[in-house]
Symmetry: C2
Subunit: 350 residues, 2 copies
């Protein structure tokens, strides 16, 4: 039981309280605190800020939203929270939003209409000022809904062509980085495990892989698709290396995967075929998260600027909310190769 001598509810200070304390009107306080009106004397401004501070004033978000101002909240929709990649993006977005004075809501797209609906509701209910959409797919009804509405929004990681609202990473570059690494080690037959077809980063990575493989003049450049999960990596790997079952040499000496989870699945599958990593097959994954360094062997990855993607997208969205017209943006941070034990020269001995 709390001490009754202490006020249980420190009675939230309201705008009118601040006004009274500073000896001005509500209107003036509102203007000062929102930095909106320049025709207020410096001294008055000070008094208002002082009063607000000592009273611990916090504007009531509902009242604000109601009065037609902004809610100071954004919403981020990601395809799957189980995927640490999206979580990293979300963390970047969350942090940057905070820095800009926005609250960010995180929602997961459960592949059903549900998330779509609930996401639209956030807007309808006037809970948020803008949307960050990381799960756009062609035909996703949300994309339609949102583009014919006037609510500020940004597509994140997955792009909607012609929207002029895409914030992406240089995924093509990640394929080049991975291929260059493997090529310089001497690999000439390389396989790529792509993500599900139809998803922007997945397709872009695959195309860049094939293009650059051509430029390098590889003997073989095979591709198989799978979900971004461990299981997706397993099945795609078995597809690519299936021929090896007969005991012959694997058709490729290295694999480059589209996600970290796929790489983990791939490593298991490679071993289940009786092959060694990296002596028989080298593996490069995408997205450098802590777990990569603790696998057996430690996984070589291409580190993508996931966190930066989140921050950049929020910057763009907030700019859009404030009225600046935006265009497509590519996060400037370049993919970076993190070399570990899962890659070596083909045919190397342990």
């Amino acid at each position: 039981m709390p001490d009754p001598s202490v006020p249980v509810q420190p009675v939230r200070a309201k705008l009118v309280d601040v006004a009274q304390a500073a000896g001005v009107s509500k209107a003036t306080v509102s203007k000062v605190l929102n930095g909106r009106d320049l025709s207020v004397r410096e001294e008055t401004r000070q008094r208002v800020h002082e009063a607000a501070r000592t009273l611990g004033y916090r504007p009531h978000s509902g009242a604000r939203a109601l009065a037609g101002a902004s809610t100071h909240a954004l919403a981020l929709l990601v395809p799957a929270l189980a995927n640490p990649t999206y979580v990293t993006i979300a963390r970047g977005a969350y942090q940057r939003a905070r820095e800009l004075g926005y609250l960010s809501l995180l929602a997961e797209d459960f592949d059903g209409q549900e998330a779509d609906e609930s996401f639209s509701e956030l807007v309808q209910e006037g809970r948020v000022d803008g949307l960050l959409i990381a799960s756009a797919r062609p035909g996703h009804s949300l994309v339609d809904t949102v583009s014919r509405s006037s609510i500020p929004h940004v597509f994140l990681n997955r792009s909607v062509e012609g929207s002029g609202r895409n914030v992406t990473m240089d995924v093509a570059r990640s394929s080049v980085t991975a291929l260059d690494h493997l090529h310089s080690l001497g690999h000439r037959a390389i396989g790529h495990i792509a993500g599900p077809p139809g998803i922007t980063p997945s397709d872009a990575r695959k195309e860049a892989f094939l293009r650059h493989a051509g430029q390098l003049g590889l003997h073989a450049a095979l591709v198989a698709s799978g979900d971004f999960t461990e299981d997706g990596g397993v099945s795609a790997t078995l597809q690519l290396l299936g021929a090896a079952k007969g005991g012959g040499p694997p058709p490729v000496t290295a694999l480059y995967t589209s996600s970290l989870a796929q790489a983990i699945g791939a490593m298991g599958a490679i071993r289940s075929l009786g092959l060694r990593i990296p002596e028989d097959v080298s593996v490069v994954g995408n997205d450098d998260l802590p777990v990569a360094g603790h696998l057996c062997p430690p996984l070589t990855t291409v580190a993508m600027p996931l966190y930066d993607l989140g921050t950049t997208a929020v910057d763009a969205l907030v700019a859009a909310i404030r009225g600046t017209p935006m265009g497509d943006i590519v996060v400037p941070t370049e993919p970076r190769l993190v070399s570990r034990g899962s890659t070596t020269a083909p045919g190397a001995t342990p």
Copy 2:
């Protein structure tokens, strides 16, 4: 460019619009839609619902909150989103909240005061009706703030003694389950890698480990602490197995870790000492997430009801918001052993 013949803004229907369409007053609509007033004829009730549906009416959350009603939103504070354990809990909470008509905000505690502040702000700003706190630590200022306030809240996974608001899992049972498994395989010297001291589930798991080890009459039951991360697992493992460096047999033949990440770190560390898994050292981790099955070797784990923890906590919180007094709750789902390749009899040959 959107088709101009389609209204760009489908002009949100307001309460008054619904009232007009149904031929009643705002008051009546409000009562009907909130199921609050019984003195409305069934026929009128129908008309109101009908009108609301055809107009696609969505109440403005800000207006609602302002008028003194609830915001229909909860907030969940977790220690680290990078930890998939908490993400799983969050997903459960999110889903259940949705089912109950609540929106749930997810926030990460960055160990600084920041999250604390921003979490309190959520309340001050009238954005949420209740709090789910999964990062309570002794001395955490939020615990203080929140207990002397009158806002409904629940402590989740980590308990605050005497609060009568704790929702936890049977972590003691998880230690027993793991120990029984290892004991039945023949292990008599077992090590435990605990989480950071001072955190409820970490301490509880450790105590239960020592207690049950005593009951089983083990020759050795060693404990080392580390963060819930991979690195935490590495350092704790080196501490426990350090003696093995001399070439002698390891002081324990099995390790039981407090988190999945620790187990991954432990496996790497065991290998770096030149020991084999599971022949030299068996490993059991906590929390069964997809990645566990794809490690090398696949990891035996104790599956904890993380998702259920999230749903149960939301149930409890919503009940509290609605005025039902609550007490401490333990999620009824029992920890379950998932046996994989990382455990075998001690001294087994490959």
